[in-house]
């Protein structure tokens, strides 16, 4: 069966089966313990399934169905995400045991995972939209898990952003289909047909905005610090590490690298640059390590958007794989940094591991981050842009030093339950993967040789931003106490204002409705409509 890869099928069926099992009370109690098992088939798929493995559900032959395909880009992200889901699942297990909301958490977890894994495999727009939506909506449950006021607020903001992103995505997809012969929905064919689309500009705008919302490009990032600060550590880890990559894979899949329309590359790159620096700037004023990491995500996704934008400008097909590689590293490193917050990593040798991971984001030599930075240097290598890339590395380094400082100074973000040995091992494994996975994948990219990485010049190139960052941090030390530290997402007082406005608006609508539903008004409206409709019909 050429079109039915068993691993691929198992990747999706296992989470679904687990979800189905949640319908039974006895099974439901056991599910939280088994969460970590669920991404195993996905991990195998990513490792063993051949490039181009396909899965087409039978219904697809009738018309609408779901079709999946694994390629190198998808496999990298799928593997990294599955690994993170697995280890974060191990981590979550300890905290969930016999807590009242465990089953609900497990359901949201499984749904988010299902959506997240599926989105890397989707081969047509409907499938993509399905899994993208599942992951996005289910993440709401993870964010509001502890039902505290900040969590509910974060959930509300997140849902607003997500639903708007979904709507824009759907609009973009419909425009893509409308421009495709026979209104096909295969991702390859619609992206090819985009060049001839009469709505090319609108389509690009909708898709880029939708995915930018998902990856939190400034100014569409407002939900991200709130959500990651409010979510439990395990959830924040998978959301920031894995779930956000749905937006990255979206950009990779749907940007027309082969025949890019003018200006969109510049726009995306510019937005990415703004995000890259804004994230750092904003993160420096936060004290909560979770919030700092969230802003780091804003910044890192900005870097990624810049890479994709530059690739689009240059019509460089390789951009996809490079961006995927960078994202793969980010999956693992951001996931493990979040998990570090719950295992008392602020002391002893573990602090050094955290430091290596954190500075890896700035390209610390001999880490996975250095490879990731090296890979994206290619599209970013020319002149002024190269300088900006270096500056971004410096900025990342400064932010990460700040994070380390917050980690050391702040008490554990989630003191109870105590860090178990299992949790620490899971975390350590993940930290190892941050080096091992990029190292294993890097040669396959065939971008450059190890020699080009380990030469003295490249090592120096990677190291000096860290040194500069460290020096700046030391210099900053003296001001530290004077700096105003802001609460997570405080600049988002806007959401209160918006909430108030929408509440006013809602009240107005309710008032209108009550008025319209009075008998004389409604009956008069009836007569009025008869007259208006007759008038409209007579108007020829």
């Amino acid at each position: 069966m050429a079109d039915l890869d068993p691993w691929l099928a198992a990747t999706l069926l296992l989470p679904i089966a687990m979800l189905a099992a949640c319908g039974f009370a006895r099974a439901r109690a056991r599910i939280p313990d088994l969460l970590w098992l669920v991404p195993l088939p996905a991990l195998f798929t990513a490792v063993v399934a051949p490039d181009g493995a396909e899965l087409v559900l039978p219904a697809a032959r009738l018309g609408l169905g779901l079709s999946f395909r694994l390629d190198r880009v998808g496999a990298m992200l799928l593997g990294a995400a599955a690994l993170l889901w697995l280890l974060a699942g191990v981590y979550a297990r300890a905290g969930l045991r016999r807590t009242p909301g465990a089953a609900a958490f497990a359901i949201w977890w499984l749904l988010t995972m299902l959506g997240n894994l599926g989105v890397f495999l989707a081969h047509d727009m409907v499938t993509f939209y399905l899994f993208f939506t599942i992951a996005s909506l289910a993440a709401y449950g993870l964010i509001v898990h502890d039902q505290s006021a900040p969590a509910r607020r974060a959930g509300r903001v997140y849902v607003a952003f997500t639903l708007i992103s979904e709507a824009m995505l759907l609009a973009g997809f419909v425009l893509l289909a409308a421009a495709t012969p026979q209104h096909g929905i295969g991702i390859d064919e619609v992206v090819d047909a985009l060049a001839q689309s009469p709505w090319r500009g609108t389509t690009m705008a909708l898709l880029i905005t939708a995915f930018a919302l998902k990856i939190g490009l400034v100014p569409l990032h407002a939900w991200m610090p709130l959500a990651y600060s409010a979510a439990p550590i395990a959830a924040a880890s998978v959301l920031s590490g894995a779930a956000v990559k749905a937006g990255v894979i979206g950009l990779i899949r749907f940007l027309p690298f082969a025949a890019p329309p003018p200006h969109w590359g510049q726009a995306l790159a510019a937005a990415g640059l703004v995000s890259a620096f804004y994230g750092v700037g904003a993160g420096l004023f936060r004290a909560n390590p979770k919030t700092v990491l969230a802003y780091s995500s804003v910044s890192q996704m900005g870097v990624l958007a810049t890479v994709l934008g530059m690739g689009l400008m240059a019509a460089n097909r390789h951009t996809a794989i490079i961006a995927a590689f960078y994202a793969t590293h980010h999956v693992l490193v951001k996931g493990s940094l979040f998990l570090a917050l719950g295992i008392a990593a602020s002391r002893g040798w573990r602090l050094w591991v955290v430091a290596a991971l954190a500075l890896g984001l700035a390209g610390l030599p001999l880490t996975g981050g250095a490879l990731a930075k090296a890979a994206i240097k290619l599209p970013l290598s020319d002149g002024a842009i190269g300088l900006i890339a270096d500056l971004s590395a410096v900025a990342s380094a400064i932010l990460m030093f700040h994070f380390l400082r917050c980690l050391v100074c702040a008490p554990d973000a989630e003191p109870a339950p105590p860090a178990t040995r299992l949790r620490r091992r899971a975390w350590l494994l993940l930290a190892l993967a941050c080096v091992a996975v990029p190292a294993a994948l890097f040669p396959r990219l065939e971008l450059m040789t190890w020699g080009e990485i380990f030469g003295p010049k490249p090592l120096w190139d990677a190291a000096w931003p860290i040194l500069v960052g460290g020096l700046v941090t030391l210099a900053r030390q003296s001001f530290y106490d004077r700096l105003p530290v802001r609460r997570a997402g405080a600049e988002l007082g806007v959401d209160h204002a918006l909430l108030l406005i929408s509440r006013r608006f809602g009240d107005a609508v309710v008032a209108i409705d009550q008025h319209l539903r009075q008998w004389p008004t409604a009956a008069l409206m009836f007569v009025g409509l008869v007259l208006v409709l007759a008038g409209a019909l007579l108007m020829r």
Partner: protein, 313 residues
């Protein structure tokens, strides 16, 4: 022709005046009373429009039974506060809108209708012979458009079910209360003894003649219902309980008989609700007989309303 015109003019003016009175009356009771007068006058208009069948129906059901129903309701509710009248601006807007609608409809009927008017009278008359009936309206009701009539009987039964369903749970299947609790007046009792035999004769005549002359099941049924209601109001007989199998059979026999004849037509003649050659008239009279009784029972029960007392043991 001018005297006829003058009569029509006077009639129309009177109808409109009484209608205005009905709408504008201060008290519910006077509105209902003028509505009954309005209905009776309107049946005169129907006579003028050469529609005696409709005139009879309007008088019997539109004015008669409806009037009884509304009288009862008005007597119970009276003019108790039902919310304020809408603000003046809304009244004005409503007046304007209704004036627009009325003038639009008047213009439509007076100006836009085609000449010569399309009519189905020729085919209806041409086929009349095959039905054996003399009254084309009855032919339309029971032959050409029998499905409408059948469904409308179902509507009537459904309305009765709807009314019955408003009984509180504890008195379900009980007896409907009719009229005031006070003992009936002697005059009413006298009337209730005098009228029903006459009414029944008229009703039977109406239904019987309906095949060939104006009249039929509706009108006959309505008169029977009225007679029954008089008897009930005068306490000469008791309303049967709504769970009484006999009452339910009475209500349902007509529609079910009609449906059975329809299905028999499917089996024996060519089509559902077709009548076998030569048997049309007897079958229609049979159906009408059943329907007259059922209509009488249904209308009376509709006027009597839902049960208010528990069924007798």
């Amino acid at each position: 022709m001018t005297s006829a015109l003058a009569f029509d003019l006077a009639l129309a003016a009177l109808v409109l005046a009484i209608a205005t009175l009905t709408i504008a009356a201060r008290e519910a009771m006077s509105a209902v009373i003028s509505f009954i007068a309005y209905g009776l006058l309107l049946s005169l208009a129907w006579v003028r429009l050469r529609a005696p069948d409709v005139a009879l129906t309007e008088a019997a059901i539109g004015a008669g039974v409806t009037g009884l129903l509304l009288l009862g309701a008005a007597a119970t509710i009276g003019d108790r506060q039902a919310g304020a009248a809408p603000p003046l601006a809304l009244m004005l807007a409503a007046g304007l809108a209704c004036a627009l609608v009325a003038s639009g409809l008047a213009a439509t009927t007076l100006v836009l209708l085609p000449e010569p008017a399309p009519t189905l009278a020729p085919p209806a008359m041409a086929s009349l012979a095959t039905t054996g009936l003399g009254n084309p309206v009855t032919a339309v009701l029971f032959v050409y458009r029998a499905l409408d009539t059948l469904l409308e009987k179902v509507v009537l039964v459904l309305a009765l079910l709807g009314v019955w369903s408003l009984a509180p749970d504890r008195v379900w299947g009980g007896v409907a209360r009719l009229g005031p609790d006070a003992p009936p007046r002697a005059m009413l009792v006298f009337l209730a003894q005098l009228l029903p035999p006459v009414g029944m004769v008229i009703a039977i005549y109406m239904f019987w003649t309906g095949a060939d002359h104006p009249g039929g099941a509706f009108q006959g049924g309505a008169i029977l219902a009225a007679m029954w209601l008089i008897v009930l109001t005068a306490r000469l007989a008791d309303m049967p309980a709504t769970s009484h199998p006999g009452l339910r059979l009475l209500v349902l026999a007509g529609p079910m008989l009609f449906a059975a004849i329809g299905f028999a037509g499917w089996a024996l003649a060519d089509a559902f609700l077709a009548y076998p050659e030569g048997y049309a008239k007897p079958l229609i009279i049979l159906a009408e007989a059943g329907l007259t009784l059922s209509i009488a029972a249904t209308l009376a029960c509709l006027v009597a309303g839902p049960a208010t007392r528990t069924p007798p043991p």
